[in-house]
């Protein structure tokens, strides 16, 4: 069974009286297998958050459907297995960190002493132990992001949906979040994540989908996507500085001692691919 299934999802927003419609997501399909880390990337306004909201049942799809572990997103049961971190999360300012965690735990039907201990543990894991007794009104942006992450993990979900988990978090904190995602992956938790930090996506994701203007324009396993077809990579040892087009031939003739260690398709960075496909998309 797939963890996440998005089937021909389209979402049209009404722009208020007489202002027509706006299609934020157009016919997007993808699936995420259990245990996989799936990255959704795309420029601002390309429909990533909208797709996630539809997946969580916060928005009703105009066309198509979404499901989580086989249960339609519109059903409440679908959300039993999901932890969600919305973009720029805001919580009740009047609650302290610990109270916030207890509140969300109770919403998931948890309670009692185990819940309290679990909350304390999660706050420690996200580096908020010191701030647990402070009200959220006084939290910084990065701290809110972290409590959002802690809150998403409260009921030990099988699927984590993270909308820009590292936005506004400092480099050390964002490395911690990356480690946390890898840790989740190790424990078999499926992760669906969006981020504008492509380096991190490249580090953690098994598969990625690239969205632009509401469409999925490229999708697949990360290592396939960033492999470049029409190029050739040569990793040389003991080489001279000069590298020429007919290297192999030339090598064989002139440098019989030089061995080819690895030959194959070189990888570009996800970032370069991203710019390439999204720019060609916006120019046509």
């Amino acid at each position: 069974m797939t963890a996440v299934e998005v089937k021909n999802l389209s979402k049209v927003f009404h722009r208020g009286l007489g202002q027509g419609f706006f299609t934020a997501v157009k016919d997007v399909s993808f699936t995420v297998a259990p245990g996989e880390v799936y990255g959704l990337i795309g420029p601002n306004g390309s429909g990533k958050s909208t797709t996630m909201k539809a997946l969580l049942g916060l928005l009703a799809p105009t066309l198509g459907s979404t499901s989580i572990y086989g249960i339609d997103s519109r059903k409440v049961e679908a959300r039993k297995a999901v932890g969600f971190l919305p973009e720029n999360p805001y919580f009740y300012k009047h609650l302290t960190g610990l109270e916030t965690m207890l509140f969300f735990g109770r919403l998931c039907g948890l309670g009692g002493k185990p819940l309290r201990e679990h909350c304390v543990r999660l706050l420690e894991q996200t580096g908020l132990a010191d701030a647990a007794d402070r009200r959220l009104g006084g939290y910084s942006k990065g701290m809110l992001q972290r409590i959002g992450l802690a809150q998403a993990l409260i009921h030990e979900p099988k699927l984590l949906v993270l909308d820009e988990p590292t936005a506004g978090v400092d480099p050390a904190g964002s490395r911690k979040i990356r480690d946390l995602i890898l840790d989740c992956k190790q424990r078999g938790i499926t992760v669906l994540v969006t981020s504008h930090l492509l380096e991190q996506i490249q580090e953690v994701c098994d598969r990625v989908g690239i969205m632009a203007s509401g469409r999925m324009i490229k999708e697949g396993a990360l290592k396939d996507l960033i492999a470049v077809d029409d190029q050739f990579e040569v990793l040389l040892q003991n080489t001279d500085a000069a590298l020429e087009p007919q290297l192999r031939e030339w090598l064989a003739q002139n440098y019989p001692n030089t061995q080819i260690l690895r030959a194959g398709r070189p990888h570009t960075t996800l970032e370069r691919l991203f710019l390439e496909v999204t720019e060609s998309k916006s120019s046509d």
């Binding site: 909201k53 916060l58 009703a60 999901v82 919305p86 805001y90 109270e99 919403l107 309670g111 009921h155």
Partner: protein, 292 residues
């Protein structure tokens, strides 16, 4: 079972939220007002002193209940939408009806708690005042009769004032205020599921409050010449569109010393429950469809 826990978590969160907005200062102000009203008008007659104390206190009770019902409800839902706190809540396995009920019960619980505290403070002040006033009146009566005052005369003076003092029927008036507030809260919640702003909800809520009080008058005016079937239908439609808040106006008669019958009280409560269930049902129907 889990539903109950969730609803309670949401309700108690709502109560904490409102409490931490310092709404309880109102209660403090109320106590000061009641004490001041209790001891500030020695110039008028004894019975009038008691009446004044009751008038002022009940005015404040009503204001508290109505303002809390409309304004605090209006603050809650649109704020959750604006702040996007709703995303995180509804992304948990929380049915939307649980969310609405939690908010509703939270506001209601706070109003009930406030009314109970205010009722207690007011009753205490009224009782003290009554004791003092009766003693003065009896002294005056004895003095006037120049030692010839009989027990029956004293009892009559006492009974007269006691009718103006602390009676059980006063608490039925508080109950009617609570019912009115509960209906208004449900209505405000319904409005706030459609409205996108707090201000809109507050203004519309108060508009309904004003119209709701005028509904009885309106009906009387139009149906002077006998009641036909159409008149019934029209009045029924009106009462559905806007709560007939006149139903809950028993405060004035009670303050004048009338005691409402058990029948009247249960009818009033029944109407309130009908309105509340109706409004919450519509609110839910609108809220499940709401795009966030």
């Amino acid at each position: 079972m889990f539903h109950l826990r969730r609803i309670l978590a949401l309700a108690s969160n709502t109560v904490t939220q409102l409490l931490r907005m310092k709404v309880l200062f109102f209660l403090l102000a109320f106590c000061v007002l009641v004490v001041a009203a209790g001891f500030a008008f020695p110039a008028v007659s004894e019975a009038q002193q008691l009446k004044l104390l009751k008038d002022v206190s009940f005015g404040a009770l009503q204001a508290f209940a109505v303002v809390m019902a409309i304004a605090s409800t209006a603050l809650l839902l649109p704020k959750d939408v604006e702040d996007r706190t709703l995303y995180t809540i509804l992304a948990k396995p929380v049915p939307r009806i649980d969310y609405l009920l939690g908010k509703y019960l939270g506001v209601i619980a706070l109003i009930a708690g406030g009314l109970i505290l205010m009722d207690a403070a007011f009753s205490l002040v009224l009782y003290i005042k009554q004791t003092i006033v009766i003693k003065e009146a009896v002294d005056w009566f004895v003095h006037q009769q120049q030692g010839q005052a009989d027990a029956a005369g004293i009892a009559a003076v006492t009974a007269d004032l006691e009718k103006q003092g602390l009676t059980w029927s006063l608490h039925t008036a508080v109950w009617s205020i609570f019912l009115k507030a509960a209906v208004l809260t449900a209505l405000a919640l319904l409005i706030s599921t459609i409205a996108s702003s707090t201000l809109f909800t507050i203004i519309t809520g108060f508009a309904f409050f004003v119209i709701g009080h005028g509904l009885g008058l309106f009906r009387d005016y139009f149906f002077q010449g006998g009641i036909s079937r159409w008149d019934y239908a029209l009045s029924a439609v009106l009462s559905i569109l806007c709560p007939d808040l006149g139903l809950f106006d028993i405060v004035d008669p009670v303050l004048e010393g009338h005691v409402p019958s058990v029948m009247a009280m249960s009818t009033m409560t029944g109407f309130a429950v009908l309105y509340i269930v109706g409004y919450l049902t519509v609110a839910h129907l609108l809220f499940v469809e709401k795009e966030l």
